[in-house]
């Protein structure tokens, strides 16, 4: 029979480590995915995935059953990613503040990338590349919002910035993505 996540957590807590193996099997793919989208580096993504599972294991006692296990795991993962990106200095308070002042003005460099036109045979990859090409602060909010499915307020809380700033970042990021993906969108409708 198929155990539920909650069952597996319970079994792990009573010392049955193979139960946690099953959770790793179930979720290392989506966790890796999230980490990769956040960090844009395969090696870092593997590293963070392992780190996230270790932290989750250590904190398993504090996991509340009413929360979805993957949601909880995602939260740990994106926190680890945010720490790493902070260490790379991609989320400096000054750069975020500057963002807010620019408000809803479109960013420079938002014109579409001619390079994108040449990859019509690999449409899917272009989507990933468009996300990867965003500066750290934009990529982080886009990944949290659209891959992890987290609300604007939650993003604001995790990054410890006002939700108005998150909205501005999202607005600008979406405009950048639209511009980057425009050639593909045009192809689709032909």
């Amino acid at each position: 029979m198929e155990w539920s996540d909650a069952d597996l957590v319970q079994q792990t807590l009573t010392g049955k480590i193979t139960a946690y193996d099953e959770l790793v099997n179930r979720y290392h793919r989506p966790v890796y995915q999230l980490a990769y989208r956040m960090l844009d580096n395969r090696e870092d993504a593997s590293d963070v995935t392992q780190d996230a599972f270790l932290r989750a294991f250590a904190a398993l006692g504090s996991y509340r059953q009413h929360a979805n296990f993957l949601t909880w795991l995602y939260k740990i993962t994106s926190n680890v990613c945010i720490d790493r990106i902070r260490a790379r200095r991609g989320l400096q308070p000054e750069s975020l503040e500057a963002e807010r002042e620019k408000g809803f003005e479109p960013a420079a460099g938002m014109e579409s990338d001619p390079e994108m036109l040449s990859i019509r045979d690999d449409l899917e990859d272009a989507v990933g590349r468009a996300v990867q090409s965003l500066p750290d602060r934009y990529r982080v909010v886009v990944v949290m919002r659209y891959l992890e499915g987290v609300s604007v307020n939650e993003i604001a809380a995790r990054l410890a910035i006002p939700s108005g700033t998150v909205k501005t970042l999202l607005y600008r990021a979406r405009e950048m993505l639209r511009s980057k993906l425009r050639p593909l969108l045009a192809l689709e409708t032909k």
Partner: protein
């Protein structure tokens, strides 16, 4: 702004507010009236309606970005790492010679730390500080009943720390405990004859400090109210 929207028609001034509305629509943030206004405009303006369609499709593409395959040995590596971590922590709890075991570098924190943001850590620290002050001043400055306030307060601080997933409930608990306990406290100390004016003054100042710390913690909690557990 000559650089923007190279591939678009020059953006008309009347379209500007609708650009922002498109984003808010996709975020589900528009009111009924704003929605109608935008729909009217989208039907009349080819430029904006195309932009809307593009934006919607972009978001669909992003949400369904293709999966990236992790390295084939990732799951096995994680499982091994978890096993060695489990071995280490059981050695430590059994008070064996933990010093000889080096922890893997990947574990920088464990326990709650791993799931807390900086802000949440700050909230907990503030709560614990308030709780400590409240408890420490019992033997020094409190009449029997006044001590009750401190105890209730301290308990609620610790409860809050425990109920970390539900900051709203924690906040309510805080306010209720402070209000109830505060009433007790004022009444009991006012009728107590054992304390001199100076002691009462020091007590009052300490109370103020505690209330200030709690206020700070509540403020932080309101800023970091989390949506995961809605």
């Amino acid at each position: 702004m000559s650089f923007e929207f190279q591939h678009d028609n020059p953006l008309e001034l009347r379209c500007r507010p609708h650009q922002e509305a498109i984003h808010r629509l996709l975020d589900g943030e528009l009111t009924e009236i704003e929605r109608e206004r935008l729909t009217d405009h989208l039907m009349a303006c080819r430029h904006c309606s195309q932009r809307f369609l593009e934006m919607r499709r972009t978001l669909q593409m992003i949400s369904h970005a293709p999966a990236i395959n992790p390295p084939a040995d990732l799951a096995a590596n994680i499982q091994n790492a978890v096993r060695s971590q489990a071995a280490i922590s059981s050695t430590q709890t059994n008070h064996h010679i933990a010093r000889t075991v080096t922890r893997p570098v990947t574990i920088r924190n464990d326990g709650l730390d791993a799931v807390l943001t900086v802000q949440e850590r700050l909230i907990f620290s503030l709560c614990l500080l308030a709780a400590m002050l409240a408890i420490l001043k019992i033997p020094l400055f409190e009449s029997a009943l006044g001590g009750l306030w401190s105890v209730i307060l301290a308990t609620s601080q610790l409860m809050w720390t425990y109920l970390t997933d539900i900051p709203i409930l924690g906040t309510l608990l805080q306010i209720t405990a402070s209000a109830l306990g505060g009433a007790f406290h004022i009444l009991s100390n006012a009728y107590s004859t054992t304390f001199s004016g100076l002691t009462l003054l020091v007590n009052l100042i300490l109370d103020l400090v505690i209330v200030l710390i709690i206020g700070l913690a509540i403020l932080q909690a309101r800023r970091s109210e989390r949506a995961t557990y809605r």
